[in-house]
């Protein structure tokens, strides 16, 4: 019984080693195929970049305007939150008949306010993102339009 087990283990180990060898051979074959394909039909060389991707960090156009915009959007978010928190405390007096049932309705109202506040926040953020896209596009267009030498100089100055 033990001999059978040993024989099975050995057989399994041999199979795994053969599989490794085959995988290695296939990898080598694929590498050769790739190099042959490259020689037959070489991929076109990527044209040299004219815009440094770091231009968005060191020379972003409208940067000050964007800062002011995001600051203002933050202000809207905070003011809306204040209003929501205050309105959330709206409740009929404790002596009100059906106070619990009214409480349920006003609970949903409170959730609704939270959703709406989030919507306002998202909408203001979306407006700011669109502005950011515009600033990036202006920066890209300007950098792309500069002659190569001027662009290189600007990069050095930064």
């Amino acid at each position: 019984m033990r001999n059978d087990m040993n024989a099975q283990d050995e057989y399994k180990a041999t199979l795994l080693s053969k599989l490794d060898e085959t995988t290695g051979t296939l990898d080598a074959l694929f590498a050769v195929m790739d190099s042959v394909r490259e020689r037959i039909d070489p991929a076109p060389a990527r044209p040299a970049d004219t815009v440094d991707p770091n231009v968005f960090f060191y020379k972003l156009r409208l940067h000050d305007h964007m800062e002011a915009l995001f600051h203002a959007a933050d202000g809207v978010g905070k003011a809306a939150q204040e209003m929501r928190l205050l309105a959330k405390r709206v409740a009929p007096s404790a002596q009100c008949r059906n106070a619990k049932a009214w409480g349920r309705i006003l609970g949903i109202f409170s959730e609704h306010l939270t959703t709406q506040e989030r919507m306002l926040h998202e909408a203001a953020s979306a407006a700011c993102s669109a502005a950011k896209l515009l600033a990036y596009a202006v920066t890209f267009a300007e950098a792309d339009a500069l002659p190569d030498e001027a662009a290189a100089n600007e990069g050095d100055e930064a």
């Binding site: 002011a68 203002a72 809306a80 309105a87 009929p92 009214w102």
Partner: protein, 132 residues
């Protein structure tokens, strides 16, 4: 926190104007006009409006500055295409701004509705007590 005898938050509709569109044939015990005359979170609402006005002005200033930048854009073979994209982005900013405007008024209406509900609940109890 809920104050009566005053026009509520906003929405642009005055209580008198709103009352004109009201069904007066089924008014019941509680006069809806009294429910309408509730004020809640008015200072907070004004703060939101001011903040929003500030953001609106910043957006407008941003768009103007972007336009100015575009005009002095160095000559480029793709200038026409870029101008198209700039125009699209400006329109997008305007639309997003309108969406935020709508969201803001929607929030104001909700605040107003909640205040009216709470007032109505209180008034309905008072009316029952008076009738008894």
């Amino acid at each position: 926190m809920v104050e009566t005898e005053n026009h509520i938050v906003n929405g642009g509709v005055k209580p008198e104007e709103e009352a004109e569109h009201m069904d007066t044939t089924t008014q019941g015990v509680i006069n809806p006009l009294k429910v309408i005359r509730v004020r809640v979170a008015r200072d907070e609402w004004e703060a939101v409006c001011q903040a929003w006005q500030g953001l609106h002005e910043k957006l407008r200033a941003f768009t103007h500055a972007a336009m100015a930048e575009m005009k002095v854009l160095p000559d480029s073979p793709n200038r026409g295409a870029w101008m198209m994209f700039f125009d699209l982005y400006c329109q997008q900013i305007s639309r997003e701004s309108q969406a935020a405007d709508e969201a803001l008024y929607s929030l104001a209406y909700s605040v107003e509705t909640g205040a009216r509900l709470a007032t109505f609940a209180d008034m309905s109890t008072e009316a029952e007590v008076e009738n008894a």
